[in-house]
């Protein structure tokens, strides 16, 4: 886009930011560097410190936090070391719930994105606006609304009982189902928007060509359209999976005490009863590592598909 007036390689063309890149970028480097990169590094160091029972840390290096996470030595620490399952299971359960949230969002989000992208331009921008609103509305308020809706004495149960369809309220709140529903509901717009963007750019001539060659409707969808818009689908999946994995509000407000996820485990170390900061830092580090691995795979798949495209 830039420089289309002059041929490429014309050295005479000067930009107004020449020689000022450093000054312009310095604020973002400094702010994000000092307030995010350095804190994450400090958190990494912290995860190797000793817990002080008064709520802080003692600056002695130890692997205790990771030991507590992975290894079970019995209540008094004198039994033979075994793999500790409690925290691994919390991670596994969070992983499954994030995964299913992603699948459900995809099953609902893809047809929605497709329908939006193929509707007439005027209704298209209105539909886009309708999906954008929940994307920006406070997640806390949305989760509270869901809690209100599915409580034992909430509107759903009251209405079902009023119509005589059930005799006593269906227990939905404080179940794994509620957490799953909450995650799905929280991140659904995150799935729709990137898929919509990629289907909107998709050239339907490709589908027409397939149809002209007597390819069936569904074959065209799965063999032509979906492979072409795959980057958008993967982006949507990442945008749902990652925040779901570290979610705090949905498990806390909808899941109650029994349906712990990683976010609740971390929160408990800092705000709750546990007060074990090094352990909280270690759990956060493990979560961050998993997410960085997912993002690396994502980056690789993006460069691969970009390479194939050219």
């Amino acid at each position: 886009m830039a420089g289309m007036a002059s041929p490429k390689g014309n050295k005479a063309e000067a930009s107004i930011v020449d020689g000022r890149l450093g000054i312009l970028l310095l604020p973002s480097w400094v702010v994000i560097g000092i307030l995010l990169v350095i804190p994450v590094l400090i958190m990494f160091v912290y995860s190797f410190l000793t817990q002080d029972f008064r709520g802080g840390v003692i600056w002695t290096f130890t692997l205790e936090a990771y030991d507590q996470f992975f290894i079970d030595r019995g209540l008094f620490g004198d039994e033979p070391a075994q793999l500790e399952w409690t925290y691994i299971l919390i991670f596994w359960r969070s992983f499954l719930q994030a995964f299913f949230a992603m699948i459900f969002c995809l099953l609902i989000g893809f047809p929605t994105a497709y329908f939006m992208a193929t509707s007439p331009p005027k209704s298209r921008s209105f539909l886009l606006f309708l999906v954008t609103i929940p994307y920006w509305v406070n997640l806390l308020i949305r989760t509270v609304s869901m809690k209100f809706l599915i409580r034992d004495t909430g509107p759903i149960n009251e209405w079902l009982m009023a119509f005589g369809m059930i005799d006593e309220p269906i227990r939905m709140i404080n179940t794994a189902f509620a957490v799953q529903l909450g995650l799905f509901y929280s991140y659904l717009p995150f799935m729709v928007l990137p898929i919509y963007a990629s289907i909107e750019r998709y050239n339907f001539v490709l589908s027409e060509a397939a149809a002209d060659l007597y390819t069936g409707r569904w074959t065209t969808l799965f063999k032509v359209l979906i492979p072409t818009v795959k980057p958008g689908i993967i982006a949507g999946c990442i945008l749902v999976f990652i925040p779901s994995l570290g979610a705090f509000l949905a498990p806390d407000l909808l899941g109650g005490a029994k349906n712990f996820m990683i976010g609740s485990l971390v929160e408990e170390q800092f705000k709750g009863q546990a007060g074990d900061w090094p352990f909280g830092a270690a759990v956060s580090m493990i979560l961050l590592t998993i997410i960085m691995i997912v993002l690396l795979f994502y980056a690789r798949s993006q460069t691969n598909s970009a390479g194939r495209g050219h």
Binding site: S15, L21, M43, R142, F148, E208, G246, F248, S284
Partner: protein, 283 residues
């Protein structure tokens, strides 16, 4: 997409019908309706019940504004008022600072030549989007605690500036990419200084992007719960943390009234941002 339109318009009607039929899939419309229903039903129901006259929060007892009255004049009014003021101060400051930082960064990233570490810088600007909120929250809390920084409004503000930067950056850089550099070159050819070129030519063209970046940063800051909850000191509340605290003790009708008010604010701001970017695109 725009390139395909003139061809479609010229095509005879039965081909357009065939085209429409080809794009159609059974059930997609119904799923779309279900999707919108799921997204909006809880919000609309809370809005309706916030006008409920009945003491019980689920039985409908007629229209009333009593819960709004309680929000503004009730026992908890003072607490929520304080929290709202904190939220607004933090959101305005965080949005201003992050928009300035993001505008500078967007100028360098979009208009600057390729330099060593450009993709690294891009990664850094977007880092707050990639690190899960709960991890950022923990890291920031530990950081403030290690350097002995007092936890209060200022610590919340600093934390908010960081995650607002990428949200402000996206619309600003998108807008800048859409502005041809011909204008600046014309200015430079007529001996305007770089500063004049920026202030008189580029900046006015960038305004729609900067405004929508500012509004998005403002909403993101206003809405944040997780990071605020970690870095706020005891006794300092923002609106989301105050609401969370109240919800923990059970959902009372005044919570629904506050929720409805916040929903309205978000919807209005998103609509303004949407209109600005649309006007910007038309110009």
């Amino acid at each position: 997409m725009p390139a395909a339109k003139p061809i479609q318009r010229g095509v005879v009607t039965d081909m357009a019908v065939a085209n429409k039929k080809m794009k159609w899939y059974p059930g997609f419309r119904e799923i779309t309706l279900a999707c919108f229903f799921i997204l909006y039903a809880p919000l609309i129901i809370v809005m309706i019940y916030s006008f409920n006259a009945s003491q019980s929060i689920t039985i409908w007892g007629g229209f009333s504004l009593q819960w709004y009255e309680e929000v503004f004049f009730g026992i908890e009014a003072e607490k929520f008022k304080k929290a709202t003021i904190n939220s607004l101060i933090i959101a305005i400051m965080a949005a201003v600072v992050s928009t300035v930082i993001a505008t500078a960064a967007a100028l360098a990233m979009v208009r600057g030549k390729a330099f060593k570490g450009k993709s690294l810088t891009f990664g850094l600007i977007n880092l707050p989007l990639m690190v899960p909120e709960i991890v950022t929250a923990v890291a920031t809390l530990i950081f403030f605690s290690v350097i002995g920084f007092d936890r209060g409004v200022l610590s919340i503000l600093l934390a908010h500036i960081v995650f607002c930067i990428p949200f402000a950056y996206l619309p600003i850089s998108a807008r800048l990419q859409g502005i041809s550099s011909i204008y600046e070159q014309a200015g430079r050819d007529l001996y305007a200084t770089p500063g004049q070129t920026f202030l008189l030519i580029l900046f006015p063209l960038m305004v729609p992007g900067i405004l929508s970046g500012f509004l998005l940063a403002f909403i993101i800051s206003l809405d944040d719960f997780i990071i605020t909850n970690f870095v706020k000191g005891a006794g300092v509340e923002t609106l989301p943390t105050a609401i969370f605290g109240a919800v923990k003790q059970g959902i009372k009708p005044n919570i629904m009234a506050i929720s409805t008010l916040m929903l309205t604010v978000s919807i209005v701001l998103v609509s303004i941002s949407y209109l600005i970017s649309r006007i910007g695109r038309q110009n």
